[in-house]
Symmetry: C2
Subunit: 465 residues, 2 copies
């Protein structure tokens, strides 16, 4: 695909659409839009544009489509796979002005929001009405809900409440042609033709630009309990995970954390936490509901299960401050790891009973290729984030040899029935590994679908495949 | 699209693939495959073939693709939108020999099944292991799980447990080209390229033929309570629905039944049920869980809500026999209506708070066009099955004038934020109404996707759009 540069004439047309104030071309201001949270990658766009209506997005898309200018949609820039990086230059469509919760429909337990709403702000607004939107990635305080939809984002509560796919009912989307459609209906069930809503979810901004989102809400659980279980080894902690479900419990969160991650959070975040010798890994387990007796019984059952898996200690959070502190331990881990070293994050996911084998294999691969890794993640979903630390590795090894190590980790993941990403998406950085799991038939179908939506290939080029 | 007839040569090739015993060409035996449960429609295929491996399906697809022979996949033939009708003749691919539960993986709470497994048999097998697969359409005793996936089927428990989209993790699919792929991974989360699993769900056998299904299972609730609430009017019953959720309850079923439907079940099925004068409609409400106190508290809360909506009586099922009898009332309603009259069934779905307006509009339209209707369905999901009764209507009115009435019902449905089908699919009989909700842009995207999977258009032609 050959793209054009943005000419003075096109730039003038862009300014006419959104107004001069919402167009950035100066290099220092472009910097913020040249990266997301993926490694230390930088790609500069030619221009950043901040529309605020679907009509403006439509006009911009038509203009770029006619002039073969690449368009990269961008949410909050918290992505971990490079999905928002404008690798071909061109225009970055920054969605930050789409920041309104348009409606919270308490009768239908639905909401209509714009894609640039910060996930946590939306969660708080619905919580005030006694409702729950349970899709809360670790970055919930800064990420946008539009980015969550585009990446199929998850977070700790998917394990009980289901994936984002269950909560996104309908989308207003601007296609590369500039046409504006609603993908489906504002209904809890849908069996009316190929499901375009589901196709958009996780398509990483390559098929269309989301301008409105209709979300399903549910009644909010009123109480919860949180416990932290300590194990001597990673494998022991991971082995306990599937047994908890087998005991008939669906926790509202079941998170795994490796000791090294906790150490770094302590150092970086100053969290007061008594990290005992001989402890190698933790499970952070939450149950929620509406009845104290049930919560208590669930905790007891979990405790019994943990005993069978050589759990050394179970710490119950008694106060909401303690709960917050334990959650902070988990939620800030990514940031702490990042601030300690150059790193690469892989988002492996396997059937949950295969977690012990996965983490064992990751460490073996690390030994073979000479890298340290810090693992944590949504163990209840079989979703393990693998943070590979540069540490003392030479730049050559980091940039070249490491690829083979990552490949081995993904080969293991796939051999266990898993895939390359559970919730971060493929974006730029995992693209090269897709052939480990998918064959030419998959690629041909994906390319074909892309072509149907975006015949000139202008939308977020260079991503996924 | 111009298709070819099946020649002697092609027939010989078909027989060579599956063996003579699994090929039907004699007219009397073809009759069973000429219809499903949709109205009184009949379309005869030229041949019915019963493969039992993906390799056989692949060989058949290649043969038909090369010879431009239409292929209509068929499950149990319980569909209500004509999806399994071979409207262009050709070959019916009957999946009844794909009838094995291949694995129930108790460690991962997953199962791998063939598409021709009867839904209820699968549910019973996992129930024996203390597990739940909650997608149980009214036809669960005879329908196939493969048909459920193809149509995005639902049933009463979607309201609590989520749609079939949340339970189908991975599919083995034979494409029209004969290529065999797995659409995704055996994982609870998936963010690895366009989601082909989700695209297959609800595609009504037009994109590929499903040969294996990986299913998510959950721990089974141990107790439940069932109540039947009586109201004087349809609108009163429907108005109570959204209030139940607003009170913080998510019932495991919330079904609406119109009086006329209950009358017909009584007549047809001989169910002993005291149908009191002045009662116009019912809600069948189930709550489930693991704790008797919680169930009891939920029932009390629901009772309070019902009182606010002019509920005349609440009947609690005390024994499992009583529960079964109440469920039979609901589950056999479709069959009872069918045995009483020629009818057409529409599968409207709206945001649940719009149900009162929907049912009022349906009755007004009935008055205007002179038809009686019997409504029932999954009110908790806003999903109302509208059975239009031929009764004394002339054949001319039934075949022609009625279309305008149905159109009005769908126009109302769409104006309320809803769509044409929540769980039955579009198939043949709703196809003509799709333009009420969808525009040329939607159709172009759908046709484009179809073309990517099936460039010769041989797979289930004449359906959806």
């Amino acid at each position: 695909m050959i793209y054009n540069k943005i000419t003075e004439q096109v730039l003038a047309a862009i300014k006419a659409i959104v107004g001069d104030d919402w167009v950035i071309t100066a290099q220092p201001e472009l910097e913020k839009y040249s990266h997301d949270e993926t490694e230390d990658l930088h790609f500069y766009p030619e221009v950043v544009v901040k529309p605020c209506t679907a009509a403006q997005v439509s006009s911009l898309m038509k203009l770029c489509n006619e002039n073969l200018i690449p368009v990269t949609p961008r949410g909050a820039g918290t992505g971990l796979s490079g999905g928002a990086l404008p690798v071909m230059g061109g225009l970055v469509m920054a969605m930050e002005r789409f920041n309104k919760v348009l409606q919270i429909d308490e009768l239908n337990l639905q909401a209509t929001v714009e894609p640039g709403v910060i996930t946590e702000e939306f969660m708080n607004q619905v919580a005030e009405k006694g409702l729950l939107y349970p899709i809360d990635p670790a970055s919930k305080g800064s990420c946008f809900i539009g980015g969550n939809v585009s990446h199929g984002s998850g977070g700790p509560r998917v394990v009980k409440y289901g994936t984002i796919r269950e909560y996104i009912l309908n989308l207003e989307v601007v296609l590369p042609s500039g046409e504006i459609i609603w993908t489906g209906a504002n209904t809890l069930k849908y069996a009316s033709g190929y499901n375009l809503t589901q196709l958009m979810i996780g398509s990483e901004g390559t098929l269309g630009i989301i301008t409105k989102i209709v979300v399903k809400l549910i009644p909010r659980p009123t109480i919860d309990a949180l416990m932290l279980a300590s194990f001597t080894t990673n494998e022991a902690a991971c082995a306990a995970v599937s047994a908890i479900f087998r005991a008939g419990i669906i926790p509202s969160a079941l998170e795994f954390m490796e000791r090294r991650g906790v150490e770094w959070v302590k150092e970086n975040d100053g969290i007061a936490f008594d990290l005992k010798d001989g402890i190698g890994a933790f499970l952070l387990i939450e149950v929620d509901g509406t009845n104290q007796d049930v919560i208590f019984a669930d905790c007891e059952k979990i405790n019994h299960v943990l005993e069978e898996f050589d759990c050394k200690e179970v710490l119950f959070a008694d106060t909401s401050a303690q709960k917050e502190e334990l959650w902070r331990l988990r939620r800030t881990m990514a940031v702490s790891v990042k601030s300690n070293s150059v790193y690469k994050e892989e988002d492996t996911v396997v059937p949950r009973a295969s977690l012990p084998e996965l983490i064992k294999g990751i460490k073996q691969t690390g030994g073979k290729y000479g890298f340290e890794s810090v693992c944590y993640g949504h163990a209840g979903d079989g979703n393990l984030h693998v943070n590979i630390i540069k540490g003392q590795m030479s730049d050559d090894d980091w940039n070249d040899k490491l690829k083979d190590g990552i490949r081995e980790i993904f080969e293991l993941t796939v051999s266990l029935g898993g895939t390359l990403s559970g919730e971060h998406g493929i974006g730029l950085v995992q693209k090269g590994f897709m052939a480990i799991k998918y064959n030419e038939t998959h690629f041909a179908l994906w390319r074909g679908i892309k072509q149907v939506f975006d015949k000139n290939g202008i939308l977020n080029p260079g991503k996924i495949f």
